[in-house]
C-alpha cells in the first residue's frame, strides 16, 4: 500500500531534519537539504508525488526524482561509464540520479523516502566521488542500454 505524502513528509522531518520541505502541492512534495557522504557537503533536491490509492502506477514513473543542486557534478569525457555514471538525462539536459532498478522490488511507494532515497543518495555520491578519484565505480550498478 502506498504511503501518503503526509507520511513521507513526517518521516523526512523526523529522520533528516536538515532536509526542508520547500514546496507542497496536493500529493507532491519537494525537499532540499544537505548530505555529507565523505568530506564534501552536497545540496540535494528530492521531488516526489505519492500515487493515489486507486492509481495504477509504474515505479519507473513515480520513483523520486533526485538532483544534486551543488556543487555541480563533474562529468568526464571518454570514460567507459559515460559522462556521468548512473544518471538519467531530462529533456533539457538536467541530470537526475538513478538509484534503483524499477523492474525489481527494491523500492515501491510503500517505502519511506527517508529510509531509502536519502541514504541511497549518500551511497551514490560515495561511488561517484570514488569514480572521479580512481576511475572505478565501486557501487552497485547496471546500465540501461538502448535496445
Amino acid at each position: 500500500m502506498s504511503l501518503s505524502i503526509d507520511q513521507q513528509i513526517e518521516a523526512m522531518s523526523r529522520l533528516w531534519p536538515a532536509f526542508k520541505l520547500v514546496a507542497r502541492e496536493e500529493s507532491a512534495a519537494l525537499w532540499q537539504g544537505p548530505v555529507r557522504p565523505l568530506l564534501q557537503t552536497y545540496r540535494v533536491a528530492i521531488a516526489y508525488r505519492a500515487p493515489l490509492m486507486v492509481e495504477r502506477f509504474s515505479v519507473r514513473v513515480v520513483q523520486p526524482q533526485v538532483q544534486i543542486l551543488s556543487p555541480a557534478l563533474r562529468p568526464r569525457r571518454g570514460d567507459a561509464e559515460g559522462l556521468l555514471p548512473h544518471v538519467y538525462y531530462g529533456p533539457d539536459g538536467d541530470v537526475s540520479l538513478c538509484m534503483l532498478d524499477p523492474d525489481s522490488d527494491e523500492w515501491s511507494p510503500a517505502e519511506l523516502l527517508a529510509g531509502t532515497t536519502v541514504p541511497w543518495v549518500t551511497d551514490w555520491l560515495v561511488a561517484y566521488e570514488g569514480w572521479r578519484a580512481t576511475g572505478e565505480w565501486t557501487g552497485t550498478g547496471r546500465h540501461v542500454e538502448p535496445a
Partner: protein
C-alpha cells in the same frame, strides 16, 4: 540541533580512513621485520667470530631508532628501501672514535652483502633486496643502562674532528614505548588490513597475545602518525641532497605529543604543529631548534640539523602547510579526487594513488555487502567492525539496504 558524533573507529571518519590506508601502504611488509631480526643477529655472530677485531668485545647488540619503536617506513624518496639501525656496544680498549669505527669496519670486512659503506657514525650494510642495516658502534660510559657514547669520525680526516657523542638510544626507546601503549581497537583494525593486503590472516582477538607468525606491526596512533610525518618529510626533501630533519627529532616530539585515543588526522595535526611551533619559538628567539634526549639530556638529537634558520623555518612551513590542509579538509568541503591530488603532494603519488584506490574499493565492498550505516549528516559510516552498526545511537536510524544504481550512458 546537535547530533551526537559517530563513535570513534579508525575507519569511521573518511579523512582518518584515507590516512590509515596511506599508513598501511608505508609499513614494512609482514615478514620483513623477522628478516631484519635474522639479519642483525647474523651480523652480530659475524663480527664476534674468532679472529674478528671485535671477538669477545660486543657487550650487547640492539635495535635503535625506528626499528626499536616500530616506526620503520620505506626510505626517503623510494618505496622499496628500508633502513634498520642497530647499536653494537663495544667493550675493551678505547683507542678513540676513529679506531672504534675502524674496528667495526674491519670486523665487517668480507660480510656477504651488496655493499658496505663506512659513514661518519656507522657502518652501513646494503642488501640486494633494498634493506640497509646501519651498525653504530657505541661505548658505555654511564651507570644508567646503556648510557654511553658513539663515535663521530670521518675516515682519514684526522683526530681533531673525531669525537665521541653522548647517546642513550636504549633509554629513549623505553621512554617512547612507555608513552605510546598499544591502542587495541586501532591496532587490531589496521593489522587486520595490513595482513589481509599481504594475503595473510590476522585474527587475534587480543592484541596482547599475538603469535610469532603474525606479530603486531601497527600499535598506536602516535607511531602511525610518526610514520606519516617521516614519509611527508621524505617527500618534501626527495630532491635535496643535504641533511634533512632527523627522524629522532620527530620521534621525540611524537613521544611528547602522544595522547592515546585521538583520531589519525587530529594526531597528524598535533604532531606537525608540535614540531613546527617548537621551531617557530626557537626562530623567534633567534636560536636553532634544540631537542635533547628526554632520558639523557647530554644527547642532543638536533646536533646535526638544523644548521641554520633557513633550514628549520623551511621545514616548519612544510609542517604548517600539512596541518592547515588537514584542518581545511576536516572543516571545509573537499571531494575525494581533490583530496587525493593534495595528498599526493604531501605523501607521494604512488602511495596515495594506491591508498585512495584501496579506500574506494573498501567502501564499495562494504556498501555492496550492506556493512555500512549513515551519520545524521548523511555521511557514509563504514567502520572496521561493521557488526557494531546496529547498536550505535549516534547514527541515523536508517538501515542499509541493497539497491541498484541504473541509468543511461551518454558520451557527449
Amino acid at each position: 540541533m546537535a547530533w551526537p558524533p559517530p563513535p570513534k573507529d579508525p575507519f569511521a571518519d573518511p579523512l582518518d580512513a584515507v590516512l590509515a590506508e596511506i599508513a598501511i601502504n608505508l609499513q614494512l611488509p609482514p615478514g620483513l621485520h623477522a628478516k631484519a631480526v635474522d639479519r642483525y643477529e647474523a651480523v652480530r655472530t659475524y663480527i664476534e667470530r674468532p679472529g674478528s677485531p671485535l671477538h669477545g668485545r660486543v657487550a650487547c647488540f640492539y635495535p635503535q631508532g625506528s626499528m626499536r619503536i616500530d616506526a620503520t617506513i620505506s626510505t626517503r624518496g623510494t618505496d622499496d628501501e628500508y633502513d634498520i639501525d642497530i647499536v653494537a656496544e663495544i667493550t675493551g680498549r678505547d683507542d678513540g672514535p676513529e679506531a672504534l669505527l675502524d674496528d667495526l669496519e674491519a670486523a665487517l670486512a668480507g660480510y656477504q652483502v651488496s655493499k658496505i659503506v663506512r659513514k661518519t657514525r656507522c657502518i652501513a650494510l646494503y642488501y640486494a633486496d633494498g634493506m640497509h642495516l646501519d651498525v653504530t658502534p657505541a661505548r658505555r660510559t654511564g651507570l644508567k643502562e646503556k648510557e654511553g657514547v658513539i663515535a663521530h669520525a670521518k675516515k682519514g680526516v684526522g683526530a681533531p674532528q673525531a669525537r665521541y657523542v653522548p647517546m642513550n638510544a636504549f633509554a629513549f626507546g623505553e621512554w617512547y614505548c612507555a608513552r605510546t601503549p598499544t591502542e587495541e581497537r586501532f591496532a587490531k583494525a589496521l593489522n587486520e588490513r595490513l595482513y589481509a593486503q599481504a594475503g595473510m590472516v590476522f585474527a587475534e582477538a587480543d592484541v596482547h597475545d599475538v603469535p610469532d607468525q603474525t606479530p603486531l606491526i601497527i600499535k598506536s596512533v602516535t607511531t602511525v602518525v610518526l610514520q606519516l610525518l617521516k614519509r611527508h618529510r621524505n617527500i618534501a626533501y626527495a630532491d635535496e641532497t643535504g641533511r634533512v630533519p632527523p627522524s629522532i627529532v620527530l620521534s621525540c616530539h611524537a613521544g611528547h605529543a602522544a595522547q592515546p585515543g585521538m583520531g589519525l588526522a587530529d594526531m597528524v595535526i598535533r604532531q606537525a604543529r608540535w614540531t613546527a611551533r617548537a621551531i617557530d619559538d626557537a626562530a623567534r628567539q633567534g636560536r636553532l631548534l634544540s631537542v635533547p634526549n628526554p632520558e639523557y639530556p647530554a644527547e642532543l638529537f638536533t646536533d646535526r640539523w638544523p644548521e641554520n634558520q633557513t633550514q628549520q623555518q623551511g621545514y616548519a612551513r612544510h609542517l604548517h602547510a600539512l596541518a592547515n590542509g588537514l584542518e581545511s579538509a576536516q572543516r571545509g568541503n573537499v571531494q575525494l579526487e581533490d583530496l587525493q591530488a593534495w595528498l599526493r603532494v604531501q605523501f607521494g603519488e604512488r602511495v596515495v594513488t594506491r591508498s585512495v584506490k584501496a579506500f574506494n574499493d573498501r567502501l564499495g565492498r562494504q556498501v555492496k555487502a550492506g556493512q555500512h550505516g549513515y551519520t545524521r549528516q548523511g555521511g557514509l559510516f563504514t567502520p572496521a567492525a561493521p557488526a557494531i552498526i546496529g547498536s550505535l545511537s549516534g547514527l541515523a536510524p536508517v538501515a542499509a539496504r541493497a539497491h541498484t544504481n541504473m541509468g543511461e550512458r551518454r558520451f557527449s
